[in-house]
Amino acid sequence: MIDFALHNAWLIPLLPAIAFLLIFLVFRPLPKVSAFIGITAIFLSFVLAVHVGIGVIQAGDQFVEHPLKQVVTWFEMSGLKIEMGVQIDPTSAMMLFMVSLVALMVNIYSLGYMHGDQAFSRFYAFLALFAMSMLGLVIAPNLLQMFVFWELVGLCSYLLIGFWWHKYSAREAAKKAFITTRTGDFGLLLGILLLQINFGTLDLMTLGEMIPNFQEYTNLSVGGLTAIAAILFLGPIGKSGQFPLHVWLPDAMEGPTPVSALIHAATMVVAGVYLVGRSLILFQTVPGAMAFVAFMGGFTALFAATIAITQTEMKKILAYSTVSQLGYMMLALGAGSLTGGMFHLFTHAFFKSLMFLGAGSVLHAMNNDADIWKYGGLKKKMPITYWTFLIGCLAIAGIFPFAGFFSKDEILLVVKEASHGAQFAGLYTLLFWMATITAALTAFYMFRMFFICFHGEPRDKSFHPHEAPFSMAFPLVVLSIFSIFGGFIGAPWVEHGFGYYVRLGEYHHPSVDWAIIIVSTILALGSIFLAYWIYGKKAVSHEALAQKFAPLYKISFNKYYIDEIYLWLIHNVLDGLGRALWWFDITVVDGIINGIGNAAKILGSILRRVQTGKLQHYALVLFAGVVILVLIMSFADTSSASLSLLGGVR
């Protein structure tokens, strides 16, 4: 079975693809059958992914340097060979496991959450399509396949954010997400093309061997390669919601909550991180690009955390938290640690999707009223949601022994190590402190939300909250187990843990830095206590605090006015430019095109008259043609000079 799974990993994305087709083409009128097909397919994919994972672990670190690669040629011509296939190594096996598990949980959860929705079947069809696209992205052995599936997950995200398309805000959010991420994808495609032009291949393994010695293979300078890396990074900036293209992610919460948990917390948004991780050699070769990635990540982490503090909707807070945590992962990659970035990606997927699903459970209980200031005292009414959500909060705050503790400390550790490096030491020192502050802020805003929602007395008595049904509670429990124990696989006392498998370069046994552990734990506990003090114990009025720090509060509450700035730019600059181009298009371009079109039509009708229908005319043309050709060929100077007029090369 393990061997079968390893050599047939292409089945993992194929099964959801079949489910999608079946649901969409055949079983759309039957919601229950659709859900059954969707869940069965992703369950089988999950089983296969587990076996792939076991196979990879059993093989030791054999797959790290020599991935199991199976490709078929998709398209071939001189100088260009494009392949599609499967690359199995520890990183992709980890992703396969994570994506299929979260997708399975979300599929089960949706049974309860989407119950009674008119478009229940369509929802499952899109979920299956998404699973197919994401799993296809994960196993891609080259950048082009990755790009194809990258666009497909973008499409699924668009379809699912706008799932309730009758809602104006959902439509707008879907468009915003699509357009914003596409802006970044433009850069990604450009970067991919530049790599193809310069290196002649997009295969990840081959590129990994060529890029460190790029001066042997190409005429690129260090600056040139840095530029390519930076352009390529635009894609991840858009997809993984990094500043300044993060604006779409909070709005994407307009989609159904299971979608937010699956796509906008655990899987699609980490595609950017995954892509950077997959092409980390490119960034490592040019330290400037590396520092750029680290800075963007570190800045985004802190920036989004400061916004999350003041938001008043659970899903919005979680969304900004996701942006912030994605920044964390980028920071780890930018510090040169594939292990750090991927480890946090892995643990984050579980506790963040857990919290989203928990938030969905709360929303479900509160008739979809999103304002947290109307909640309160949910602890007694929804014990399962309460306890699992608490686990999620503790995990993201980085409290021992929850999953986030290990992955967050790993990131702080690698950034600290980078700050002792030869290049950009000052920058990495700054980033280390930014990351530490972010960790404290994270613990604070999470427990702020936690205390407001679950503790105290119900603020609005008109709601009658109830615990989630089994289909929704079950995924919460499963994910909370992973949120508690998921970190152990990378714990320092494990001999061959996460970092042994998912790594770039030599294996270093994780070291223990007590200073970081103590400082981060104290900061997290202090923040939790502060949150309890303000929102749980209500020792200080939060309104008074907001008053006191009014300017800061307002900036944070209004998300630094980034959306407003963009709107202003779009209205004043882009619209004006658009109008000018529109005029040019209508008068000049259309004029020329219509002119050519009309000319072609007129010419066509004239030439048509030659076709008289009379046989003798046809025969005349036939023989006249022969005679003219003979004359031309006889009189044409057959020396190459005149022939080359027509393009002959010799």
């Binding site: 066509g604 046809y618 023989f623």
Partner: protein, 475 residues
């Protein structure tokens, strides 16, 4: 001599004769069932032919090639014949007479094409050509009571005879100058002679004209719109793909094997003709109101595109021709099957009568749209990949100007292709009655559509076969 090399041809002959005899034994009104027999027989032969890849031998002392190139084109012809016979059953039934003979003549035409694509010698080549052409004379005028069909038959017969005369004259000139009719020996003799004599130039031009007639290259295309319009639609489909592909196969072998040293001259000739063919075919297609005439002009333009692969005169170019030829089979037969079934139901071939077809028969409208867009070269359909292979084979040989003409005219072609789609999808139907499509035709429609999409998305399998074909020609 190993007769087993000729298994494919022998089996085809036996099938034709067998069907002819069986046709006499069974009652008249049941004879349309012979179509299925022919389809199955041809499909079996097609299946068997896969075993002939990689043999690369000659029979009859070099007079007859059994190489990957000829096998590829034979398969192309067989695919076309299978699809046409499967799609035509209802049409032939409505035509009323001589079911058996119709299918027998189709098989004989296919046999002629096979011989043409395998010929290594001028007489054999001419035999194949005439077997094919005479079968088509009969098939074109098959609707005896229809004046258009009769007119088309007569026109094709007379003009075809003239073009055969020109071709034969050209062949005899080449024979006269070199003293051999074996294609590969012509090159040797020409090399010994050193320079190109005027008679050889004239012979070469005559060959171009003779083949140009079969592939309907401008200015030898005059016959094709009239014949395409008048002939029974299944015949038109087979004529458009089969006879064209076989003529291309023979043309490639003759010019690339017999005249490689004078490629500069004939490349110039073909480049000029290709440009003319692409321009005139596309421009005149625009004002057409009859879909069969429109498809005839479109097919002229397609021949122009395929000629670019001949101009490249290397393996990449031949690969392009083979690839494009095969996908052109699917797109064209798909489109003509739609036309066939539409006219069998409504009796009309006018584009304006296709109004609202999307509502009357979503399948017909979808297949026609996909096939037409593939001919226009819109990705991700097969036509895009095909044009990509063809044009990229001549770009680096200095024929950028021809590529630009090809691309511009492809853009123009989108206009008349999409006009049909617009009528089918946007306009309201005059008559709401659904269109009945028999099972055989339905299968053909689905196959052509799926293959056209599949080869666009994943061209590699066909590309591998086309590569084999091209490489066998250049060793």
């Amino acid at each position: 001599m190993d007769l087993s090399l000729l298994t494919i041809e022998i089996a085809t002959v036996l099938l034709a004769i067998g069907v002819l005899v069986i046709g006499l034994l069974i009652p008249r009104e049941q004879r349309f069932g012979l179509g299925y027999l022919v389809t199955i027989g041809l499909a079996i032969i097609l299946f068997v032919s896969f075993g002939y890849y990689g043999i690369n031998a000659t029979a009859f002392e070099g007079m007859y090639y059994v190489d990957d190139f000829s096998i590829f084109f034979k398969q192309l012809i067989l695919v076309a014949a299978v699809l046409v016979t499967l799609a035509a059953t209802l049409y032939v039934k409505k035509m009323g007479t001589n079911y058996g003979e119709f299918f027998v003549m189709t098989v004989f035409a296919a046999l002629g094409m096979m011989v043409l694509s395998s010929a290594g010698e001028f007489i054999t080549l001419y035999l194949g050509l005439e077997t094919m052409t005479i079968s088509f004379y009969i098939l074109t005028g098959f609707k005896k009571n229809d004046s258009k069909s009769a007119e088309a038959g007569i026109k094709y017969l007379i003009l075809g005879a003239m073009s055969s005369g020109i071709l034969l004259y050209g062949l005899s000139l080449v024979y006269g100058m070199t003293g051999t009719t074996v294609i590969s020996e012509v090159a040797v003799k020409l090399a010994e002679m050193g320079s190109l004599s005027p008679a050889m130039v004239v012979g070469m031009v005559f060959l171009v004209a003779g083949f140009g007639f079969k592939i309907s290259a401008v200015p030898f295309q005059m016959w094709s719109p009239d014949v395409y319009e008048g002939a029974p639609t299944p015949v038109t489909a087979f004529l458009a793909v089969g006879s064209k592909a076989a003529a291309f196969a023979a043309l490639i072998r003759v010019f690339m094997i017999a005249f490689p040293d004078y490629s500069l001259q004939w490349k110039m000739l073909f480049a000029a003709l290709a440009a003319l063919t692409i321009i005139i075919g596309n421009l005149v297609a625009i004002p057409q109101t009859n879909i069969k005439r429109m498809l005839a002009y479109s097919s002229i333009a397609q021949a122009g595109y395929i000629m670019t692969g001949v101009i490249a005169a290397n393996a990449a170019g031949v690969r392009g021709v083979a690839f494009y030829g095969m996908l052109y089979v699917f797109a064209t037969i798909g489109a003509f099957t739609v036309v066939m079934n539409f006219s069998a139901n409504t009796g009309s071939d006018e584009i304006r009568d296709y109004a609202g077809l999307a509502r009357r028969s979503p399948l017909l409208a979808a297949v026609l749209t996909v096939c037409l867009l593939s001919m226009a070269g819109i990705p991700p359909l097969a036509g895009f990949a095909g044009k990509f292979y063809l044009f990229s084979s001549i770009v680096d040989q200095g024929y950028l100007w021809l590529v630009i003409i090809g691309l511009l005219m492809s853009m123009a072609s989108v206009y008349y292709y999409l006009s049909v789609a617009k009528v089918m999808y946007m306009a309201d139907p005059v008559d709401d009655s659904p269109i009945v499509v028999p099972a055989g035709a339905k299968a053909v429609l689905l196959i052509t559509m799926i293959v056209t999409v599949f080869l666009g998305v994943y061209p590699q399998p066909l590309s591998v076969l086309a590569n084999l074909a091209a490489n066998s020609l250049f060793f």
